[in-house]
């Protein structure tokens, strides 16, 4: 198929960037043929996951707005007493920093992957997985604490009964994503360490696992803002 050559008028209204989009979508071929297929598929999966988490957060918004009893004060609910002093949200803040750090090490692992540095890639991915596991440990602690305090999906002693349902659903689903991510990272890291991607000459799997991991961090940014800080 021959491309129509743009005339002078086309050139005036269509910038090169826009022309790229038009030719990608209208060439009667795969749209994302310039991108590694695994990466494009991961992005599409993440897009669908975005909708799932957005539905949860929108559901939470609806419940919180329509609750006629006061919503529990998250700063107090998630406070920890350290050294006799009650510090609000301290565990959540630590979890946030741990997850951001894991994203940082993951980004560097992807970079070293493309430099074909097997050892550093594997070590950094392992470090990412350890940060992820630490995050999960703290979340398990948080859940245990709240369950001991009597928070249930249908009621809680602090206020609006919808609080428990949103908390367990949103953080639980996010925690499930982190768990899957840790498993995925460990599998890919062991393949990196064994030299699998040196033999195939394609380190894209590291970047694709990285995309998933950064997405988990991205979702936490929104949960932290809307659920814990709001």
């Amino acid at each position: 198929m021959s491309l129509t050559t743009p005339d002078k008028r086309d050139r005036e209204i269509i910038t090169p960037a826009l022309r790229d989009i038009v030719s990608d979508w209208s060439a009667d071929r795969e749209v994302f043929r310039h991108t590694h297929w695994g990466k494009a598929m991961m992005w599409i999966f993440l897009l669908s996951d975005t909708f799932i988490f957005s539905c949860f957060l929108t559901g939470y918004m609806t419940m919180r707005m329509s609750a006629s009893t006061p919503w529990p004060n998250t700063a107090e609910v998630f406070a920890l007493t350290i050294g006799g002093q009650s510090i609000p949200l301290v565990l959540i803040a630590i979890m946030t920093f741990v997850l951001i750090s894991s994203s940082g090490t993951m980004a560097m692992a992807v970079n070293f992957g493309y430099r074909r540095d097997r050892r550093k890639t594997a070590v950094l991915m392992l470090l990412t997985a350890i940060f992820g596991a630490a995050f999960l440990g703290m979340q398990a602690f948080e859940w245990t604490k709240l369950i001991h305090e009597g928070v249930r999906p249908w009621s809680n002693p602090m206020g609006a009964p919808q609080f428990g349902a949103s908390f367990f659903m949103i953080t639980g689903f996010h925690g499930l994503h982190v768990s899957c991510g840790v498993i995925l990272l460990l599998i890919i890291a062991s393949k990196v360490a064994r030299g699998h991607y040196d033999r195939t000459g394609d380190y894209s799997a590291v970047e694709i696992a990285g995309l998933y991991w950064h997405f988990v961090d991205l979702v936490w940014v929104f949960i932290f803002a809307f659920f814990y800080l709001w």
Binding site: L18, D24, L47, T69, S101, S103, G210, H214, A225
Partner: protein, 117 residues
């Protein structure tokens, strides 16, 4: 179907050291500072419209940094960028619909259930 990934090009992007490690460390630092600032919003008991503005601002900045640098979206083709960033805008419609619904449910509870529920 075969993909046209120019081998030379994709290698210069990722292997020529175009993204030095210091870039990731810098973004990591920014994310730390932004998280600390959003935590301080809560710690300092900032209330009202300033609180919501600051929370949303820090959230969007963090999301932007993660998406563009860590997830390399800034270096992807525009067709992919738009395919990912445009559909979620539909969610604003859902949010709008659900605020109307929540408002209705709240008034129903306030008027007919004596504020219970």
């Amino acid at each position: 179907m075969k993909h046209d990934i120019p081998a030379a090009q994709s290698e210069t992007i990722h292997e020529g050291g175009q993204h030095p490690i210091s870039l990731y460390l810098k973004v990591w630092g920014y994310l730390f500072v932004l998280s600390a600032m959003s935590y301080m919003v809560d710690y300092m008991q900032v209330q009202g419209i300033i609180r919501w503005t600051l929370i949303i601002l820090f959230m969007l900045l963090k999301a932007g940094l993660i998406l563009s640098i860590f997830m390399h979206l800034a270096w992807e083709r525009l067709s992919l960028i738009y395919a990912i960033l445009v559909p979620p805008l539909l969610l604003l419609v859902l949010v709008r619909i659900m605020t109307i619904e929540a408002d209705y449910a709240w008034w129903t509870r306030a008027i007919f259930m004596g504020g219970g529920g």
